[in-house]
């Protein structure tokens, strides 16, 4: 279920990310390839860290995308602080390496790290983590739940929220559900118990699975299908992030004329003359009209796609395309937007 947002107050800019998702400890950010899910995951971790909170951003696909985004050296298998948030918050990051996670697992469950190193020498660890039935995913989701549940000595959570830059939409339900499969395969014993524990966090309101999309046909279709699959698997559906949007530069009336090729050419010609572009007007005018028609067509398509997203009835966040590409400054900009959004 989507977490219920704090009531929006009249006159306020909106609800902060931390209060909107007050009961959510684990945010899973997925999306079709190319939609910018790493960027959104990072911006969300930054938004949630505001005002003295601490968040952890988890990378599970070994791409070092987070390090590139925060402009830091490649992340080791070790939690590192990568950014500070407004109001004294901190964003930490961890690139989960399945092999290291397996050694962790051996140590914490069986106190067998030494056996683990021997296994590694034989290439067994490599074999187990690359090939064995979803074991990779078991380890990755297990690690996520471990950091979610980790406590300070005083008993408070080490991280106020954990955000996973998760596998793409096509794989997300399988990825999150892997432990219920494991629990079915291993009918008893420590594995079974651990798998149930992990599912107890993932398939609960403590988790929210968000999907990132663009206003294009295929990503939107995948998003719709993805949410249906999550719901069918009993996984907690979060929000839609509509990424890389560009506001239309023309008014609705102008878009309509552009689409029907009825823009007033005389007026535009006069306008071009007034700003000193009359010289090669014969080329400029048709080019501008063609670009406007193309733009109108694209805006119409984007609006159709937006309607399909609205039908989902989920909290929806619209993020702009950052003109200079995504850098650290851009991440702060997106995080601010997430903290100010008044999305219901």
């Amino acid at each position: 279920m989507a977490p219920s947002p704090a009531p929006a107050q009249a006159g306020h800019a909106g609800v902060s990310a931390a209060s909107r998702w007050a009961g959510v400890d684990l945010h899973v950010v997925s999306g079709k390839g190319g939609t910018g899910k790493t960027t959104v995951a990072a911006a969300l971790a930054l938004a949630l860290a505001r005002d003295g909170r601490r968040t952890l951003l988890l990378e599970v696909e070994g791409r070092q995308g987070i390090a590139q985004l925060f402009d830091t050296p490649p992340l080791p298998y070790e939690e590192r602080k990568v950014a500070v948030a407004p109001g004294g918050g901190e964003v930490w990051a961890l690139a989960v390496d399945p092999q290291e996670a397996l050694l962790d697992y051996l140590e914490s469950f069986y106190n067998m790290r030494r056996a683990g190193s021997a296994l590694r020498r034989m290439g067994a660890i490599d074999f187990v983590t690359t090939i064995a039935p979803g074991l990779r995913d078991v380890l990755l989701t297990g690690k996520a739940v471990e950091v979610v549940r980790r406590k300070e000595k005083k008993g408070s959570d080490v991280y106020d929220a954990v955000v996973i830059d998760a596998p793409p939409t096509g794989r997300i339900a399988k990825f999150l559900n892997v432990n219920s499969e494991v629990s079915g395969l291993a009918k008893a014993g420590p594995i079974h118990k651990h798998a149930d524990l992990v599912m107890g966090v993932i398939a609960s309101p403590r988790t929210a699975v968000h999907l990132v999309t663009l206003l294009e046909e295929m990503p939107v279709q995948e998003t719709i299908d993805g949410f249906a699959e999550l719901a069918a698997n009993g996984l907690p559906v979060g929000a839609v992030f509509v990424n890389m949007t560009r506001p239309p530069l023309l008014t609705d009336a102008q878009l309509l004329m552009a689409e029907h090729d009825t823009l007033p050419q005389e007026g535009i010609r006069a306008g071009l003359a007034q700003c000193g572009l009359a010289a090669h007007e014969t080329e400029i005018l048709p080019a501008l009209l063609a670009e406007a028609a193309d733009h109108a067509q694209r805006v119409a398509l984007e609006r159709r796609e937006m309607q399909r997203i609205e039908v989902l009835g989920l909290p929806t966040f619209v993020l702009p395309l950052l003109p200079g590409g995504v850098d650290l400054g851009g991440l702060y900009e997106l995080a601010d937007l997430l903290n100010e959004a008044d999305t219901p």
Binding site: A124, I131, P133, L185, A186, C275, L288
Partner: protein
Amino acid sequence: MTRTTFAQAPSLAIDDILADEELHVIVCTGAGGVGKTTTAAALALRAAEQGRNVCVLTIDPAKRLAQAMGLSSLDNVPRQVPGVSAPDGSGALFAMMLDMKRTFDEVVEGHADPARAQQILANPFYQTLSSSFAGTQEYMAMEKLGQLRVRAEAEGTWDLIIVDTPPSRSALDFLDAPARLGSFLDGRFIRILTAPARGAGKGIGRIAALGFGLFTSVLNKILGAQVLVDVGSFVAAIDTTFGGFRERADETYALLKDSGTSFVVIAAPERDALREAAYFVERLRADGMPLAGLVLNRVQKLDDPDLSGEQAAAGSQTLTELAGESTSAEAESQRLTAALLALHAQRTDVAARQRHLADRFTAAHPGVAVSSVPALAEDVHDLDGLREIGNLLALGR
């Protein structure tokens, strides 16, 4: 030293490639979300309409694109797309969508006697392996390609097979996953692990002597004892019936190095997609695999490239100031013109950024032929749309 820019890179001559009768396999690869499936389908349609007998193997097409090619049923068999041929009546287009589990089942059924095949198909480990293992989709895409090639040679059904690759995190997975899976299934390690299940009495003693008992017990703890037993009986069942998964993977891999194969690397003008493309190009070179070139999809086109972004932005600002708050008809026209110029400036900006990224690719790989396809306002979902993409591809750079 001057760097080669994208505009100076050799232009990818798609029609020469499609017409090359020595060429029998084209592999379309690239990062996820760059338009691989659409490009593969457009190339296949174009080749068929130029007289080739083409089969296109798609992995996970968008519903409407699949429908456009008549792929409403997922039966893992190539079906002819009706109404596609060259003007002289030669040429045909067949299309299929990969069903990974079915392909795996067929491999088993094709190589084991019915009783044993049943035993394998019912094995829980096999069922997980064939439907959800990382790498299985890549392996089965490769396997299907191998099968189609054999059928093409035996029956002369197709003279060109175009393959789309699975939407992996990394394009390299397509090349690496099959060998990984093959070596896993064939590997010594799995044999040691599963020795008890295979009843290799002598083996156990030796293994214990080597101290392997500890490892199997660790793995039993991690995976659960039943899993290892299932793996063991699976390996035992496939072991005697058909030789070497790895051998099979190696054979298909060798096919990819053949001069009858060519790779088309696909990217979008974005940093990550181009980086992935660069990795792939380097890998192909290292492995001696033939590269046709790079297709850059979704490129921002400019209708008047001579009107610079700065000029347009300056003009837009002048007109906005002139119009001020006035509601006169003249001010309306000024605002409209200002908006159109701002739109042009924005597009020029996007184009410049894309060109910069494309130039970086070409600077590192100056010899790679390129073709660019402009961003279209709408997605492709019929044959006419694919034809248009084909025309744009053929224009090259």
